[in-house]
């Protein structure tokens, strides 16, 4: 493909791609911009793009209402915790499925995935009762547990597809070299699958971060993450567009920034083994 493409074509593509990219990004951009407006400007017609009096008032207002940092902290702990534990459980399972498959491996995998399809509200009351009896309500531990469980199938599946890409010969070589199973996984498999593991991790952090049902329903204050933070803004109080935007910006900023910084890893690993 090293034939020259005409500059005109390249420019056309550039323009179209940028327009589409900006269009997709626009809602986020608009939210961020609005968060710096006053309530009046937020609903002004015609809307002003950047030529308005920038103000941080909305952020102070939001922070005054609820301690943002507590929620962020919880979000981080829960998203990271559930993902790490999930990986810890999933890596051996995926290893087994990828390198010692049986006839039933596929079925087990599909069964795991199908557990994700069950509507969470259907089991809310049972879980609530269990959590109440075990004292897990409004605890990070409890949430980490639940999120681990709901993301585990995806983690196992993604890892499985990555692992299958790794030639079994390398693991056999390690075995010949005298590595025990644990060492084989720690020294050979995990480092080799690192891009895949990183991408799985990132994807699951995102999913856990954005999980709204369980995080909202199983917490009150101690363990409440950003989804609960934003729940205080999900209906307007008169003119509230700017405040809503500020809260929204705060809720998505950490994960967006993390996502942007790690997008290379995310994308690199998103090449599910199955995709290639």
């Amino acid at each position: 493909m090293a034939r020259a493409i005409s500059p005109r074509r390249k420019w056309t593509i550039t323009v179209v791609a940028w327009l589409l990219g900006l269009a997709l990004f626009f809602p986020i951009l608009w939210t961020v911009l609005t968060s710096f407006k006053t309530e009046g400007e937020a609903i002004a017609s015609p809307p002003s793009l950047i030529a308005f009096d920038w103000t941080l008032a909305n952020y102070f207002e939001v922070q005054a209402r609820s301690n943002y940092f507590k929620y962020v902290g919880n979000s981080i702990v829960i998203a990271l915790g559930s993902t790490l534990i999930g990986l810890l459980i999933a890596i051996p399972a995926a290893w087994a499925m990828a390198f010692s498959p049986t006839k039933r491996t596929k079925d087990v995998l599909m069964w795991m995935l199908s557990t994700k399809m069950l509507p969470p509200v259907g089991v809310l009351v049972p879980i609530y009762l269990i959590f109440r009896d075990t004292g897990l309500l409004d605890s990070r531990t409890g949430l980490i547990g639940v999120l681990t469980m709901i993301n585990l199938p995806i983690i196992v599946w993604m890892l499985y597809t990555y692992f299958r890409e790794i030639p079994g010969e390398i693991l056999e070589a390690a075995r010949m070299d005298g590595a025990s199973l644990a060492k084989e996984i720690v020294y050979v498999l995990t480092p080799m699958a690192l891009p895949g593991i990183a991408s799985t991790m990132l994807l699951n952090i995102i999913l856990a971060w954005n999980e709204a049902f369980w995080t909202l329903n199983l917490t009150a204050s101690n363990a409440a993450p950003l989804t609960a933070f934003i729940a205080a803004y999900s209906s307007p109080e008169g003119l509230f567009w700017a405040k809503l935007s500020a809260a929204s910006t705060l809720a998505i900023a950490p994960i967006l920034i993390m996502g942007w910084f790690s997008q290379r890893q995310l994308i690199r690993g998103l090449t599910f083994g199955a995709v290639k």
């Binding site: 030639p167 010969e169 390398i170 056999e172 070589a173 390690a174 075995r175 010949m176 070299d177 005298g178 590595a179 025990s180 060492k183 020294y187 050979v188 480092p191 080799m192 690192l194």
Partner: protein, 332 residues
Amino acid sequence: MGKITLDKVSKSFGQTSVIPQIDLTIEDGEFVVFVGPSGCGKSTLLRLIAGLEDTTRGTISIDGQDVTGAPPAKRGLSMVFQSYALYPHMSVRQNIAFPLKMANEDKAVIAKKVEEAARILNLTDYLERRPGQLSGGQRQRVAIGRAIVRQPKAFLFDEPLSNLDAALRGTMRLEISELHQSLGTTMVYVTHDQVEAMTMADKIVVLQAGRVEQVGSPLELYRSPRNLFVAGFIGAPKMNLIDGTGARKHNAATIGIRPEHIRLSSDGGEWTGKVGVTEHLGADTLLHVAVDGVGQVTVRADGEYQVRSGDTVRLTPDPDKLHRFNADGETF
């Protein structure tokens, strides 16, 4: 130390029996090559010895000790894989050091042994590189380095050179032979390359469908193949196998004559044929000749033999080098 004995070993995958039953002894210090067509069970046999597969029946012993149930790590063997199976995330040094690290060797000892292995294999300058930054031949050497560093009882090679190009293959072939000479360790080597088998082996084991067809030194097999299969399999270019009338004249169901054992002349001679494709290799010329009443015969002529497609030539097989086979394909 490294005598490997297979006693009535058989292997099935589910219903399919891949190796019906094999008895084989590999002496200490021997260079044994397994050859055979694709799918005949060469790799399986090697993996059984390595302990990467369980035997279905039979026992494998190393130096008289039964290791049938032992895990690979406990057998004291090293293996070099066709794909090299290097650890891509480790440097060459770490790759070579890995088996020692697994054996919990002392750091200083590891360093010394790795340097030593690297020196032998001319890898000293590349120790800090990753496998991805090496050429094919260098990677192969790293794989060998990883194998020799722990001084195993025997080396197992599964088509180690098949991913290299012809020139490199030649060089590596020599290197492995030299390594064998200098280390004196038992080597079991799987290949389907003629030249490798012929030039490297002390003993060739010809396999077909999981059975041993013949065991012997390269020249033994070249000179006296026990049956049609071995005759056709050993030697390049392939032995001409002739049945029908041509064979009946020699009182055999089939006769075989190698291309290099046929004399060319412009008149006289036993057979008359028309030249088809000619391949000029410089040092030799290969003529593909359609012989009346016999079929396609390949002849090798020394040097540059000038002949054109369509020319008629006379051929005389060297009677001393003629192989005769009965209806079952056995030599007699």
